[in-house]
């Protein structure tokens, strides 16, 4: 198992409103809204799961093919890394 994916709690603030998770990047002041798979991935990054475990959990809940889910997950993780919201990576 690779290292678990962990969010950096000092880098963001989050809130839930109308079935969306809204996340503010505290460094930039920008915020973005997560729905569906984006919100699911955000919740699955809880410090206990690595990429493979997150992907497996997504595959259980979403009918999309593994390749599509993996591409979506990797793009999302790249965005989070680029924004400095993941720690230890």
């Amino acid at each position: 198992m690779s290292l678990p994916l962990t969010k950096d709690p000092t880098a963001f603030a989050e809130t839930r409103i109308d079935d969306e998770i809204v996340v503010m990047n505290l460094a930039s002041g920008d915020f973005f809204s997560l729905q569906d798979t984006g919100a699911a991935i955000w919740d699955l990054i809880d410090g206990t799961r690595d990429r493979a475990a997150v992907l497996a959990a997504l595959a259980r809940d979403y009918a999309a093919g593994d390749a599509d889910l993996a591409a979506e997950l990797d793009a999302f993780l790249a965005d989070l890394r680029g924004s400095g919201l993941l720690s230890g990576i």
Partner: protein, 292 residues
Amino acid sequence: MLPSAARPLPQPHPAVALMARETRVREGRVARTLGGITLHDDSWVLRGSEFLMRASGEIGLHYRRGEGITLERPDGTDPRTIALWLNGTLYAAIAALNGLYPIHASAIAHRGRVYAFTGAAGAGKSTLVAALGRAGFAQFCDDTLILDISGDGPPVCLPGHKRLKLWPEGVALAGVEPGDLVAADYHKHFVKPAGGTVGEPLPLAGLFYLEQGERPEAAALAGGDRIERLQDDHYTAELWRQAAGQTRAERFASLAALARRIAMQRFARPFDPARFAEGIDFIAAHIEGTSA
């Protein structure tokens, strides 16, 4: 039961009483500097519990929480000009410094609740309210809506403190009679609200964001859009941000909490003057249907 002559007078809403107390005016010298910042004409600064503003024509306005407003003006200054300065940014700053939330909006009242319209300068907020007055809706406020957000549930709106003002184009569009000029060098007209006014605090029923569209339509806003729209770039939002002295995380949390308490919609309509009445008919029916 007390005899009628001894009955206590009804007490104003605490936020209304607060604004009446904090906006009292005395004349005196006003500095050009606050918190190390020296102001040029037509600028302001907010620091701690104080607000300082300088206007052209050697007009100075200073507010300190608990002490009210100090006004400095040359002899012979047009009182209409002074009224504009007292009722504009300064009023919103005083509200923000006392925990009230100013929004750049004009509003009507219907069946005991307030329907507010917001948008950038020129979006048609005042013209819309004037035209809705002709349709029988009472005016609640023009340009600035002050919210008491201290309780739970929908915020309580404080009745407007300004008279309705329209540019000549707005007067023609709304089909209302132009009143006096607002000031000699400011060519908006005062307009008498055709549907009357409401002078008591009322809960906010909805906040409409004015947009251009092919046809009149209203749609509920949801999720992050509600938070983002509250964080607009108007000076009222900046006043609140500075007065509250919050970190980014605290401000985000407070905006999210406020967004959950306000029903927000986008209201789109054609900007073509020939189709102005379509928008008015639509929103009048929409409000009537929502409030029934």
